[in-house]
């Protein structure tokens, strides 16, 4: 196994993190979609925990099931989708909970922000209306208290002139400011967990830097658990304590952030890291790349899903799907190889 270099503490030490109370426990989650062409297995036997105050990064290529895991958790699956398994929020089973009951948890105790803030903001209502509504509904606050709290929240996410801007409509904000408004709304009720699905993917790198800085501050100031879903390993590297790597609906590797980046143990994780062009370092005319393309979820290959693209594949990979197995404390992978 590759040695992970010793370095300044990144995130909480593993022992302390494991002792923190669990906010979200997902066990054996399977998500299926019925389509005219057959069943799509978008999420396969996914299990993980999110603990208080920690940031979990979920990384994988588009279509690997990252979003659908959390759409299942939030009870937001499309009509043709079905999730089975167990999702516990603070020890309470929420998978299959009726929407009215779930609504008391969603928005108040866990909330989600998306890639395109325009799809979740109502273009016809002022930001003020959209914010106070949440507080009136979930916290039973009066209008003026709710507005005061909303302005504070906009200040917290660093919207300049929040008192004046709160009267404006979403289209009067820039993309980066809209994303900050979304974060402010998501944090209004001080949720235990914030799920951020590609929160900076649609933004310029300069604005992305502002949002990442903001999320970093919120993480330390509010102690909110954050789930950060992204295809960008750079975004994961800066904010996450732990990382889950997904491929074709499965978690193929998990570990602490430094373990994943400095000692990847699944060939897919290794391939992803190597194929990223870097800002520094020696010249290479050819970038290492992963050959082929992600599988069609309706026609998965036999054995290991990654096998057709894997440089290490051997006979066993063709016949036997690798089960996820522990390879260290808090560290697991789904691969037949003992070490890379």
């Amino acid at each position: 196994m590759t040695e992970v270099p010793e370095a300044a503490a990144v995130g909480p030490p593993p022992a302390a993190a494991a002792e923190r109370p669990t906010v979200l426990a997902v066990d054996g989650l399977n998500t299926r979609f019925d389509t005219p062409e057959g069943e799509v297995c978008a999420v396969n036997d996914v299990s993980f925990r999110v603990r208080e105050g920690e940031t979990v990064g979920i990384v994988g290529e588009s279509g690997s099931g990252k979003s659908q895991v959390f759409m299942s958790v939030m009870g937001l699956l499309a009509a043709n989708g079905r999730a089975t398994g167990s999702v516990k929020f603070r020890d309470q089973e929420i998978l299959g909970m009726p929407p009215q009951k779930l609504n008391r948890i969603r928005g108040a105790h866990m909330s989600m922000i998306f890639q395109d803030p325009m799809t979740s903001l109502n273009p016809y209502l002022t930001v003020s209306r959209q914010m106070t509504e949440v507080l009136v509904q979930h916290k039973g606050m009066g209008e003026s208290d709710a507005e005061k709290r909303s302005v504070e929240m906009l200040d917290l996410v660093r919207i300049p002139e929040a008192k004046r801007r709160i009267r404006m409509y979403p289209h009067e904000f820039s993309g980066g400011m809209r994303q900050r408004v979304m974060i402010a709304i998501a944090l209004l009720c001080q949720p235990d967990m914030l799920i951020a699905d590609e929160p900076t993917t649609a933004l310029d790198v300069t604005v992305q830097a502002q949002i990442l800085e903001l999320m970093h501050d919120l993480k330390t100031e509010l102690n909110t658990a954050i789930v950060l879903i992204t295809h960008d390993l750079g975004v994961i590297a800066g904010l996450s304590d732990r990382v889950l790597v997904m491929y074709a609906g499965n978690i193929v590797e998990r570990g602490a952030v430094r373990e994943i980046f400095y000692g990847p143990q699944h060939p897919y994780t290794e391939g992803l890291l190597k194929s990223m062009p870097r800002l520094t370092g020696t010249e290479q005319t050819e970038l290492p790349s992963i050959p082929g393309q992600p599988p069609n979820l309706q026609h998965l290959p036999s054995g290991c899903n990654f096998r057709p693209r894997c440089a290490y594949a051997f006979d066993r990979c063709r016949v036997e799907e690798p089960a996820q197995r522990d390879i260290g404390p808090g560290r697991a992978k789904a691969c037949h190889l003992d070490a890379l």
Binding site: S174, V205, Q208, Q210, A237, M276, R278, S289, I290
Partner: protein
Amino acid sequence: MTDTALASSALDPTTTGQTAPHGAPRLSVKDLRVHFAMPKRHLFATHRDYIKAVDGISFDLHPGETLGIVGESGCGKSTLGRAILRLIPATEGKIVWLGEDLLALGKSDMRRRRQDMQIIFQDPLASLNPRMTIGDIIAEPLKTFNPGMPASEVKAKVREWMAQVGLVPDMINRYPHEFSGGQCQRIGIARAMVLNPKLVICDEPVSALDVSIQSQIINLLMKLQREFDLSLVFISHDLSVVRHISHRIMVLYLGKLVEVAERDPLYDNPRHPYTQALISAVPLPDPDAERAKQRIVLTGDLPSPVSPPSGCYFRTRCPKATDRCAMEEPPLHQVGPGHRAACHYWDTPMPAPAAE
């Protein structure tokens, strides 16, 4: 990299991996301007507002060279790329291609030159006609420019190019929707290459692709460049990708060139505060480096292109700005060999971030 190593690598291109070819430029863009008229405020308004999408940009491009173009959304990257091919009309300036000003050419002459110059786009699927087979899509430019070419020869060429870009030639009769994003981009590249162009403008060609596929396409473009001595203009907002593929990079801000340099000086020793901020904003896929680094976080948003700030356009977000910047537009200073930056204070260090 040390300063001396930097200077020598800028002078002696053989010391860098991606070496920029020298000699006579193939393309020379001179003081190019593309202004879009905004709708009048009311019917009898005498004053008209303009968006200066490209505002006085000049550069040379050599055979076998890749010029990267970076900058935030709306800074004029695509407009510049399209104006070079005359896909949108330029307002002013010169586009000298092999010694001849393209803007002075008539329609039919321009059409003939267009064989040498192709473009590929960000959204691979949307840029392909859904009702045509892959074979017909790749063959279309051939048939347009060589109507007399026998069908068997067309087909042979199409199959040859499919193989060159890594598509199985047996897929020739399939339709675009049957292909993944990466494969559609390969189809777009085959179509652009089939006439053996000398220049390909790549407008965010890998931005919509996954990391593992992105590297395949970057490798393909670099291979084609080596084999066919292609000149590439590579537009992207991803500074890591641009660094990998480019010999030289131009940084745009609100339609203006703010910095241009060869790859290493630009990334190792950027002189314009905007370039410095852009580079420092890139999240590094390396937890220790990412958490240790000093990020220059720009305050505020991009100003409206209709009413840009006075003086230096960047001053409203610049940590170095002074009164002078509001009054005087900075010229492009020569700050090193082949390295120019439009900042009055290119030689003074960035102020330390204010303590909170």
